[in-house]
């Protein structure tokens, strides 16, 4: 079995949930094999992250360098190309960092690349059979990947939930002295924090959330009326913000807000993982969608197949007349 590596995403001195998830995915590929976690950064935060990662990995490679203070994927790619064996198996989260790093890294390592993996079906000599989704979660596929010349794999966050395993007590090896030249033509400047809006959807107990099924800007009002009748707050999926029908601060999802309501009513939302990734605390989810096969019905508690544009005013009327 080729060597297994993962990259640890971290922020503010804390490892991301994907650190444990990738450990689990790596175990599925190379059962019993030792897995090396690569951690880059600087100073005390980096040390803290290495400590946390050592709970899940038998070996941690620590890279401390001023040029790695911010995880610039272009610089980290340079580092990894200097380090990784050409037939290695490298696991990354399919998040905004993994998407930035993975494809180019695979090209430079002359390895295969497979992204957004949600399951591993079979591990054979020189080959992996993995599970992915296509068409916004409406179709599943098995994909065969030839890993004989190495592979870079990205995993959908949340797909491999660790069951609290983790007392490996791995060894932390400082590899900083092996860092070569890291000059790149993309220079990080700063992070601009998301703007806060007129309402804070993260504090609401009940959310009426609208997606592309709303169809027209004029219909947003209909959802607002329903929310008012319910004593709820209006939230939305990304296309509604892209169309500028609602403010960015109303967007639920990985690139929007993380919400923890008691009740989440999703109207005309298909249920993409980036949307569902913003819903925490297992609320009671009601999904209204005109397509009985919409993926959201797999994760909702209650489903209703209806045209939301007919459904919303009727529900409003019912509540108001009660």
């Amino acid at each position: 079995m080729a060597q297994l590596f993962t990259y640890i995403v971290h922020k503010g001195g804390l490892v991301d949930d994907t650190a444990a998830e990738l450990a689990l995915a790596a175990q599925k590929i190379g059962s019993g094999a030792s897995v090396t976690a690569i951690v880059t950064g600087t100073g005390a935060d980096l040390d803290a992250v290495c400590q946390q990662a050592s709970k899940f990995y038998s070996q941690i490679w620590k890279f401390d360098h001023a040029d790695l203070a911010y995880p610039n994927a272009e610089a980290i790619r340079k580092l990894l190309v200097q380090l990784l064996p050409s037939d290695g198996i490298f696991l990354l989260p399919h998040d905004t960092f993994g998407m930035d790093l993975g494809p180019g890294l695979a090209v430079k390592l002359k390895s295969a690349y497979t992204a957004d993996i949600i399951g591993i079906d079979a591990v054979e000599e020189g080959n992996l059979k993995i599970v992915r989704q296509e068409f916004a979660g409406m179709a599943y596929t098995h994909v065969s990947v030839d890993i004989s010349d190495g592979v870079v794999l990205t995993f959908r966050p949340g797909s491999f939930q660790s069951e609290g395993q983790g007392a490996v007590n791995g060894q932390i090896v400082d590899k900083s002295s092996e860092i070569g030249e890291l000059n790149v033509n993309r220079r990080f400047i700063e992070i601009v924090e998301a703007e806060t809006g007129d309402v804070d959807i993260t504090k609401a107990d009940v959310l009426v959330s609208i997606g592309r099924g709303i169809e027209d800007q004029d219909n947003v009002e209909v959802a607002e009326e329903l929310a008012e009748a319910m004593g709820a707050v209006v939230a939305c999926s990304r296309p509604i913000v892209d169309a500028k029908w609602l403010e960015k601060s109303r967007q639920v999802g990985t690139s929007g807000q993380t919400v923890k309501p008691k009740v989440y009513m999703a109207l005309g939302i298909s249920g993409s993982f980036q949307h569902m990734g913003g819903i925490k605390g297992s609320p009671f989810i009601v999904a209204v969608n005109k397509n009985a096969k919409a993926p959201i019905f797999q994760v909702a508690d209650v489903g209703i197949v209806e045209d939301m544009l007919e459904f919303m005013p009727e529900l409003t009327e019912k509540i108001e007349s009660a």
Partner: protein
């Protein structure tokens, strides 16, 4: 500025119920509505806006079959100056690496300061832009949601990262960027616009013109192969409320009351 934008024709997931065919080899493609991949429209709009500000040309390119020509025309109706269709039986079965290799060959025939792709395709893996950049040895940034041209060598870009935060960077041209939705508001294309470009000549290049070899593109070169489509065994899923509209609403109101969903 010379700008190349990669676009793809995909089944429109907002318009279609995607079903798998009976033997699981493909999705059911009869009666599918196709359109330009959502992200690619934003990329083309951005390219047009940059060109209108600093001058230059916008070329749209796609790897696909004859029918893919229609998406090139649509993007030309938006305002792209030129279209290039990359089409050859030998390209069939290409994996992401293959598609990127074909696009690399096409990019090599021009002198592009900036190459844009969409962040991801509905049937893709958010990979082509990053692969293309690495193959061309150019700097890359994904999920770009703002672009400011500083001078002929430099751009200031924003990447959308988790939580809606924005990562600002400076990047040197020539470079490759993948574009995230929301960066702009793609202009509307009417029938009249499409008609205007209906007779514009769109060159077609195959494997021989591009000098792409079989080890890089096509099914022979593919390390990543889709084996089948399938319907997974899932948990129970949602409790579906049945009956007429009124019945469903009555049941829902009861449930909402019980769960604290009504005030």
């Amino acid at each position: 500025m010379e700008i190349l934008v990669c676009v793809k024709r995909v089944p429109d997931t907002a318009e279609n119920e995607i079903e798998i065919n009976s033997d699981g080899t493909d999705i059911d493609r009869d009666d599918l509505v196709y359109s330009v991949n959502e992200w690619d429209n934003y990329a083309v709009e951005e390219a047009i806006q940059i060109r209108d500000k600093v001058g230059g040309t916008v070329t749209v390119v796609t790897v696909g079959d004859d029918e893919s020509e229609e998406v090139l025309r649509r993007e030309m109706a938006m305002g792209a100056d030129k279209g290039i269709l990359l089409s050859d039986g030998a390209f069939e079965g290409s994996d992401g690496f293959g598609i990127a290799s074909i696009l690399k060959a096409a990019a090599g025939k021009g002198n592009y300061d900036l190459i844009l792709t969409g962040a991801q395709a509905d049937d893709g893996a958010a990979q082509i832009g990053g692969m293309l950049a690495a193959m061309l040895d150019r700097p890359y940034a994904s999920l770009v949601n703002s672009i400011e041209v500083v001078d002929d060598k430099t751009m200031k870009i924003g990447r959308e990262i988790e939580g809606g935060n924005q990562e600002m960077s400076e990047i040197q041209m020539p470079c490759v960027l993948s574009i995230q939705t929301g960066i702009n508001e793609p202009r509307y294309v009417g029938i009249r616009g499409i008609r205007k470009v209906a007779s514009v000549d769109i060159p077609v290049h195959g494997a021989a013109d591009l000098a792409v070899d079989a080890s890089a593109a096509g099914s022979a070169g593919a390390k990543v192969k889709r084996l089948d489509y399938f319907v997974p065994e899932l948990g129970e899923g949602a409790e579906m409320l049945e009956g007429g509209m009124e019945e469903k609403i009555d049941k829902l109101v009861e449930l909402l009351k019980a769960k604290g969903g009504l005030k």
